[in-house]
Amino acid sequence: MNNVFVYCEIEDGQVADVSQELLTKGRSLANELKCNLEAIAIGHKLENVGSEIIPYGVDTLYLADDKRLSPYQTLPHTAIVVKLFQEQKPQIALMGASSIGRDLGPRVSSALHSGLTADCTSLVIGEHFDKKANKNYENLLYQIRPAFGGNIIATIINPDCRPQMATVREGVMKKSILDPKYKGKIVNLEVPKYVSDTDFVVEVVERHMEKSKLNIKGSPIVVAGGYGVGSKENFRLLHELAEVLGGEVGASRAAVDAGYVEHERQIGQTGLTVRPKLYIACGISGQIQHRAGMDQSAQIIAINTDPEAPINAIADYVITGDIAEIVPKMIKYYKKNTK
């Protein structure tokens, strides 16, 4: 009762990265609240997911396994989660801010009349004093999230309704296995008790996952180019720098729109969120929508001809100049000093 719950997304029999990241966060919240961590996975052929989920420190894993439950569909997955939450009464429930989590989360929260905070970048336990009601709340979940296009950071709380629900984007939390031999129990739910046949009203006609072969998110160094790079040819310079440093190439939307680089490399609000050790922004002005995807980087180098470019405000190193001159120099002096 009153545990922390994580909804685990399953794609092709694998547990999604974002869910593993949330399990890690969920475990630390549960430790602080001195409660258990529980998880639910819904899909088909889930025999092996237990070994992928429990090592994160999951005490109880609920499985709903049925051929019809894969791929994800809104109504059946909602029905299972709603009923399970009504039975288990978690105090906190976390989901990925993914195409699945953002379809499921609002529906579940509406059915349970519990608040849902979208796209949190930080989750912390804290207290709250309500002056009007003269009431103190302990152990609330502070759900911290950017809003207004990233211009403000709001701390949202959910004092009275349970569960306190939040979604978090992939790459925002770190994942780490607690103990490969962690002992948690698995409960197989009797699916027909949770879903009715009438919930299966959507037929998935076709589906192809365009898996990105690139691993920009996992890369410790990202060399990103913007509209200021000027051409597809000039992007080669960035590829060269990335290769020398052992990183990946990313891009702003303007560079993608201009056709300099593939869409899969877009970083920002409507692209990837990255937090590398080093982010090198080449010819990127640094609009809010771009920064939303990279401002958590540990270090940022901004290379821009405009000394007033907004990206400079969040950069650790500001280089004012032309990328066509500066990038070759970076390659040259990197090679010189590592050999």
Partner: protein, 291 residues
């Protein structure tokens, strides 16, 4: 030929995309006065999808529903200029401070008053709250099916629809029955522009409140042309449970807000001289950031 009844949900939002330094007040709150109020971008994509269905099935009606302050009547006019048949402005102080759940409840109750609806079409996400929660929550409130992130209506035949959805890492085609709530992605076709004839026709479309503020000259028009009246519904026009409205009906509360616009951090200024670039690279190698 089939005809459909479509309601488009559209929100007036501050334009958060081009925020300058003056967009935030010293106390960390948003300076709405300097941010232009616009039609939420993805709601325009939603409107276009509705208008395309209307093009294909003449006799279909497209109306907008927007909840907001009085000036949000602009949203209804904008819709009329682009080909919608009408709309309702839901406006009342009782709705102030609503989170997505209270917003969805109010919108849902207004939709219930509109009779049988074949489609509710919303944008995926509004650019101020940025939650993408209202569409699915309205669907739940109405007990309707939802299909999110729609990019294209591939086929519509009687009560069966085939839709293409844009997911995180791919695309999905789904088939289902009406009625339906769908949310439309920004990757869907852009909205058609204003139509000059419709602009002339609906220029004077106003709500009662706006009319009261106007000078007398045009009041006669509203008596002759009822289509120029934009209905304004308050909390008394829809059936509601007061405990589910506004701030008190919202499970989530904003505890605090921090302004993050262009907060400068200490940065090192590096020139494009060889020596500067070299010492920066050496520093990064030494700190194990690279190498």
């Amino acid at each position: 030929m089939e005809t459909y009844k479509i309601i488009v949900l559209a929100k007036q939002v501050p334009d958060t995309r081009n925020v300058g330094k003056d967009a935030m007040k010293a106390d960390g709150t948003v300076n709405r006065a300097v941010l232009p109020a616009i039609f939420n971008p993805e709601d325009l994509n939603a409107l276009e999808q509705a208008l395309r269905i209307k093009d294909q099935f003449p006799g279909t009606t497209v109306k907008l529903l927007t909840m907001g302050p009085g000036r949000a009547a602009e949203i209804i006019r904008e819709g009329l200029f682009r080909g919608a048949d009408g709309g309702v402005l839901l406006t009342d102080r009782a709705f102030a401070g609503s989170d997505t759940l209270a917003t969805s409840y109010a919108l849902g109750q207004a939709l219930k008053k509109m009779g049988k609806i074949d489609f509710v079409i919303a944008g995926r996400q509004a650019i101020d709250g940025d939650t993408a929660q209202v569409g699915p929550q309205v669907a739940e409130k109405l007990g309707m099916l939802q299909v999110t992130y729609v990019e294209e209506v591939k086929e519509l035949k009687k009560d069966t629809i085939v839709l293409k959805r844009r997911l995180d890492r791919g695309v999905e085609t789904v088939k289902c029955k009406l009625p339906l709530v769908m949310t439309v992605n920004g990757t869907a076709p852009e909205c058609r522009v204003r139509n000059a004839k419709l602009l002339m026709k609906y220029k004077w479309a106003k709500t009662v409140t706006e009319l009261q503020k106007e000078n007398e000259d045009y009041t006669h028009l509203y008596n002759d042309r009822p289509d120029l009246n934009i209905p304004e519904w308050t909390v008394t026009d829809i059936e509601t449970d007061a405990s589910q409205l506004g701030l008190s009906g919202s499970p989530t509360k904003v505890k605090s807000i921090e302004n993050v616009v262009l907060q400068a951090k200490d940065s090192k200024i590096i020139s494009d001289a060889d020596s500067d670039i070299e010492s920066m690279m050496i520093e990064l190698i030494k700190s194990h950031t690279i190498g």
